[in-house]
């Protein structure tokens, strides 16, 4: 599904990613953990095509297709989804209208007809129930005045609507109380299938109690320095990151 080889990226003169290698297969859940400033969000952002960063070396491909020259929207059309750590507020554009535009642009790019309005409404109803989203919420301006939890839930709602092949969840657990966390995780788990893959980026192990990863990677100073199974996350929770840093230095 996703293949990242020797990825180096920088912003200005500062190198942030220093040779990332990552293979994610369909049906898998990967977690990327690491301390602040390790480059986790940068990696997520670069996979989605953020042009603020310059990829200086290496490649990212999705199902064998090189993504390097594709704009963010083209990557989205191919099935890449990024749940933002800080979703953007767009006054005057309702959640429904926004998602409708996103879906129809994606369908258009894939040579499909626009989704008929009644079908759209049906899917919206289904997916909003999945995430326990109030219908009134859907007619509000996108993210405007939403609480932290509402923003995150709305991100996962959009993910549910767009049905991506590869979903990257960037700090989706931050700002969520325990009930919201459960709802969001439950939604993600229901969307999971053997045809898609999920990369969860998080500081804490908490989310991984609900979304159980097949693999856990530790990102430190722009590199993946350790990989393991779900038990690695528990170990990190207990021991922090210092022991890994020491291992690295040794």
């Amino acid at each position: 599904m996703l293949s990242i080889k020797n990825l180096h990226a920088s912003i200005g003169d500062k190198e942030i990613l220093k040779g990332i290698n990552l293979e994610v297969k369909a049906g898998e859940i990967h977690a990327i953990m690491g301390p602040n400033g390790a480059g986790k969000s940068t990696l997520a952002s670069i996979i989605a095509g953020n042009e603020t960063y310059e990829v200086t070396e290496g490649e990212i491909s999705l199902e064998g297709e090189d993504l390097s020259d594709l704009a963010p929207e083209e990557r989205a059309h191919k099935g890449v989804f990024l749940s933002f750590q800080y979703p953007v507020e767009i006054p005057g554009v309702s959640v429904t209208n926004f998602i409708r535009t996103a879906i129809n642009e994606t369908r258009k790019a894939n040579g499909k007809e626009e989704m008929p309005a009644n079908e759209m409404l049906k899917v919206i109803r289904e997916k909003s129930e999945l995430l326990e989203i109030d219908r009134k919420f859907l007619s509000r301006s996108l993210n405007e005045g939403f609480s932290g939890g509402e923003k995150k839930r709305n991100e996962i709602f959009q993910m549910a609507m767009l049905e991506p092949k590869l979903a990257i969840l960037d700090e989706t657990d931050s700002g969520l109380d325990i009930d919201a966390l459960r709802i969001v995780a439950n939604g993600v788990n229901k969307l999971k299938s053997d045809k898609n893959a999920i990369v969860v980026i998080t500081h804490y192990q908490r989310l991984l109690d609900y979304i159980v990863p097949d693999f856990v990677h530790v990102l430190l100073n722009g590199k993946i320095v350790k990989s393991g199974d779900a038990s690695l996350a528990l170990e990190l929770e207990e021991r922090g990151y210092d022991w890994i840093k020491q291992e690295q230095e040794a």
Partner: protein, 438 residues
């Protein structure tokens, strides 16, 4: 002969068409004298520092167009609202067109200025209101006053709600190589009355046009007036809009200015207060490109206590376009408990585009709330990335962001069809088809 001399000498020809023995003639004579003394404003005038009329004044404008026109409703239909019925006061090349208009005298007067200025039954009203709030010192207003004959006359008596919106339309057909017109509108809204008015100036071809328009609006106690100005004209059309608003107690007057087209557009918008607890709203959206120029010059004069004014102007400038926002709020010593807010937010989409923003607050009362804020920036890159990452292409994402940026002003449009229209014009301006009614 330059345009000023041409206008001054044309006044004599104009006198042959009008009644020179009326009081009105004295008003016109002193007005043309004022214009003759002051001439057209230049960049040396503080109020015109950022807007130069020099280039357009070089055109050889015809000041009295031929009165015939063969414009049919089908030619101009698209400029009118369709879903709601409206009263229409329509002018072709500055001259009233009865076959395109739909006027009324039933309960309210929606008709033409030429009748109001000449028929005896309107004399009292004209004496009371005509040229009473317009600035007699201003040279361009004076020029208009001197030649004032064509325009809309709207008089809503006490406790009446105008049953339909009123569209005031000025079309120029290009029958003259270059045309200058002086439309003059008078709007009187009685106590407890309510009216919605849309004003538009539209060229139907690319011959240069210069419109020097004056509108006087009188809102009596508790009157509600919503006035929408749609400026989406051709690149050869120039507009100087001078609007003067007089408000009595508890009245609400809002003027919304949508500037999307034209070559040079100057909006002189002035509010004067003559009563307490009234509200003035001045909203604007400006979206221009190429070498277009839009100048908003506003004045709100708070002279009475407990009044509010709100100004919210959004501007998006691309290419080499230039914008000006000069907003003056004057709070006199008597005007205690004034709330006056002013906002001007601007986005520059190109390195060559310019905005000159100048808020001016002069406050002489000590118990007031006044604020002004001005921002100039570029499009939010993070927001662009967010939308693109959801599959919305760059161009559409940009359009949505600009729509979101202008939204606070669009939300204030109270005629649904007009709101849709404005949204559509914005989408067209931005070169996208927005696939839903926003």
């Amino acid at each position: 002969m330059d345009l000023k001399e041409k206008l001054v000498s044309s006044f004599m020809a104009f006198e042959e068409r009008i009644d020179v023995h009326s009081e009105l003639h004295d008003v016109r004579t002193s007005a043309i004298k004022n214009f003759e003394n002051k001439g057209f404003p230049t960049k040396k005038d503080e109020a015109w520092k950022y807007t130069s009329l020099n280039a357009i004044l070089k055109n050889d404008f015809t000041v009295f167009p031929k009165t015939e026109s063969n414009i049919q409703y089908s030619d101009v239909q698209k400029y009118f609202l369709h879903e709601v019925d409206t009263y229409k006061v329509v002018f072709i090349d500055g001259v009233f067109s009865s076959h395109l208009s739909s006027t009324t005298h039933e309960g309210i007067d929606v008709c033409l200025m030429a009748s109001a200025l000449t028929k005896p039954k309107y004399k009292m009203v004209i004496d009371t209101y005509f040229n009473q709030i317009a600035n007699k010192d201003d040279s361009l207003t004076s020029l208009n006053t001197a030649f004032a004959i064509e325009g809309a006359y709207i008089n809503i008596p006490k406790s009446k709600v105008a049953d339909k919106p009123i569209e005031i339309m000025y079309f120029s057909t290009g029958s003259e190589a270059a045309l200058m017109t002086q439309p003059r509108n008078l709007v009187i809204v009685g106590e407890n009355s309510h009216v919605q008015i849309i004003e538009r100036h539209q060229s139907l071809n690319d011959n240069p046009v210069l419109t020097n328009s004056v509108t006087e609006i009188f809102a009596q106690k508790r009157a509600i007036v919503d006035f929408y100005k749609i400026q989406n004209d051709n690149l050869t059309a120039n507009l100087i809009d001078n609007t003067y608003v007089s408000q009595k107690q508890e009245s609400h007057v809002s003027v919304h200015t949508f500037s999307f087209g034209g070559n040079i557009t100057r909006n002189n918008l002035n509010f004067y207060h003559f009563g307490e607890r009234l509200t003035s709203t001045l909203n604007g959206i400006t979206i221009i490109g190429e070498k277009q120029h839009v100048d908003h010059y506003t004045l709100v004069k708070h002279s009475t206590p407990n009044c509010e004014s709100f100004q919210d102007y959004k501007g998006i400038y691309s290419d080499r376009s230039t914008g000006v926002f000069n907003g003056k709020v004057y709070v006199e010593r008597e005007a205690q408990k004034t709330n006056a807010f002013q906002k001007s937010n601007n986005i520059l989409l190109s390195d060559k585009a310019t905005i000159n923003a100048k808020p001016q607050l002069e406050i002489f009362a000590d118990d007031v709330k006044c604020s002004h804020g001005c921002t100039i920036g570029q499009l939010d890159e993070t927001a662009m990335f967010y939308m693109q990452a959801r599959g919305i292409p760059k161009k559409e994402a940009k359009a949505l962001l600009m729509y979101a940026f202008s939204n606070a002003v669009i939300e204030n449009i109270k005629i649904p069809e007009l709101k849709q229209r404005i949204t559509k014009i914005i989408a067209n301006k931005l070169g996208v088809k927005i696939g839903f009614d926003l």
